[in-house]
Symmetry: C2
């Protein structure tokens, strides 16, 4: 089975959830009107950013709920916007930390508000002003996410259980991010630190959190099913992250919506770099050390890096690893659900994580 | 009545809550151990910072619960740590935004982690690294706050109601903060913007949020009592903020725990400055424009600013305003509760907001 069904499922979820998100945020903007222009402009950027999300995490909340036997699909979809609200909010913080200029095809919030600050004649340094705007908007978004979750009409005890899971996962994500910033650009860090960083932001957060929250909202599941869901989530998270790293260097820039090669400029220790360090020739590694974390790296050097990764075999190793996770993940699905339709969606969506081009 | 009883009530609350906070955070550090050294060092700074808080907001949660007729005092105190966890987390973000070097007598997180980053040999610019560490730790703290609230053993429907209030207030606080950063250092902003900024961070957040959350956890109160509580909260918030502005410029630096005059260096439009703009001579206003927002302002200029504020009468106007709020606030108390002990605590604590020296 290919990823077509999974891709369509994602697209359908996004189409379903976008009007709910838009309505939720419009109501919030109405409430914030008395705070003046800048807060409203920030909320507008947030709304715009969310409308361009892929909806992977929200889709997994819905799927977790369905495999958990939940029946109120409309309400879980309404509830699932919490994770989309969260994801955009934390990306606003991440983009400031990574000093990324673009996201989803538009300037990032800290970049956009440098310009806004200039127009408004702010007196603090514009770079700093942009950063503070991003942190404020991210903070507001984190609490909007909580509001969406707590407003769920699903049973209160399940909402509280799901909320506790949500809190636990995000504490780890935020602390894992501090480790990420610490090792960014470092040459001689242990593989374990790299894997910890990748794991907290992909496996734990991107796949396990939404699937588990969904299952919890449905009323939970037996230990054996839950263990299978966790194994599936692990494979899903790795496949997602591996393709993310690959797309970050090999995608079509217009389709990706952010600069190809920014991982190199930012000195991110991706799986591609880890494999080059393990399997590359010493000249390749020397070149990697030269370009990794260099903010002024040229288009030619990014192109050379792409070539080296392919020629050294590091690229293929990472691709293979991704597909191995897909194959492993498939094996757990029959223990998660007996529902034919869901079986197919879980499998196809997993495959799509490696097939996707953005 | 003076503020002695209120001061003691605050102190007793702090003594009661500190071991609960310490235990909560120690358990969290145990969970985060696998993330490595940096996350643990961050959590350690957070724990340390919280241990030096005044506990005003947590005390108000407890008082809101008591005037709401709540009986499980031990559990509401355990629950109230959420607002202390929140307050320290958001201060970590605020300190980065205000570029404050000190807080509660110790270096701020973004300052401390510049040095830590250097010791660890991080590759991104150290200033930026310090800022990212502060944002990560703040984010983690926000979610630890949620965890503490959701773990409350008080009735679940009340916890959810209180949580929704909490989310709503903080969205406004975060967006209000973006307005604060926008008008920082500006000379010709409207009084309304200044009052909005002060109101969202003092009245709404510092007093109304914790009092209302406490009352909600107790099961709510009638409309008339709630209206009186809101009026009291308004006066409490203004008195708190007015004294905060005064202490920021006139306190003993060692006692305050942060540099006296930092509001001037940061260009904060405090009530003192607003009154000088309204009532000062043109030479005074000219001097104010010269120093406000100047990061290199001298000790002599800060001293001169203090003198100008006193001589122009702006200082006294703000002090008077604070005491007027105290007097107004006292009038609402008898409509909030009939309990003699609580009546006295509410009155004395309100007085203490203007009497406090740190």
């Amino acid at each position: 089975m290919d990823g077509a069904l999974g891709k369509k499922y994602l697209k359908d979820y996004s189409a379903e959830v976008q009007p709910i998100l838009a309505e939720f945020l419009s109501a919030e903007m109405e409430v914030s009107k008395d705070l003046g222009k800048i807060p409203l402009m920030l909320m507008d950027s947030y709304k715009d950013m969310i409308s361009r999300g892929k909806g992977i995490r929200g889709t997994l909340v819905k799927l977790g709920y369905l495999v958990g036997g939940g029946k109120d699909v409309d309400e879980v979809v309404r509830t699932s916007i919490f994770v989309e609200l969260f994801h955009s909010a934390i990306l606003i913080h991440d983009d400031f930390m990574d000093r990324d200029p673009f996201r989803r095809g538009a300037p990032t919030v800290h970049e956009e508000f440098k310009k806004v600050g200039k127009d408004f004649g702010v007196r603090i340094p514009l770079d700093h002003y942009g950063n503070t705007a991003a942190v404020c908007l991210g903070d507001a978004g984190l609490y909007l996410s909580w509001k969406a979750l707590l407003n769920s009409k699903l049973p209160q005890d399940r909402v509280i259980e799901a909320s506790k899971l949500y809190a636990d996962f995000i504490v780890r994500l935020a602390l894992g991010q501090s480790l990420d910033m610490t090792i960014t650009g470092m040459e001689d860090i242990g593989e374990q630190d790299i894997l910890t960083v990748i794991w907290t932001k992909s496996g734990e957060y991107t796949s396990q959190l939404p699937l588990f929250v969904g299952a919890t909202l449905a009323g939970g599941m037996g230990d054996e099913k839950l263990a299978a869901l966790k194994d599936y989530a692990k494979c899903f998270g790795w496949a997602f992250q591996i393709q993310d790293d690959i797309l970050g260097l090999y995608a079509d820039e217009d389709e990706l919506g952010k600069p190809v090669g920014s991982d190199i400029r930012e000195g991110k220790n991706t799986l591609l770099m880890l494999n080059l360090r393990k399997h590359g020739r010493s000249a390749d590694k020397k070149f990697m050390r030269k370009v990794l974390g260099n903010p002024n790296v040229s288009v030619e050097d990014v192109e050379k890096m792409r070539k080296i990764l392919k020629e050294s075999g590091a690229f293929q190793k990472v691709v293979d690893m991704g597909w191995e996770y897909v194959e492993e993940g498939k094996q757990y699905i029959s223990r998660i659900t007996k529902d034919k339709k869901l079986l197919e969606v879980l499998e196809s969506l997993l495959v799509y994580m490696m097939e996707r081009t953005k």
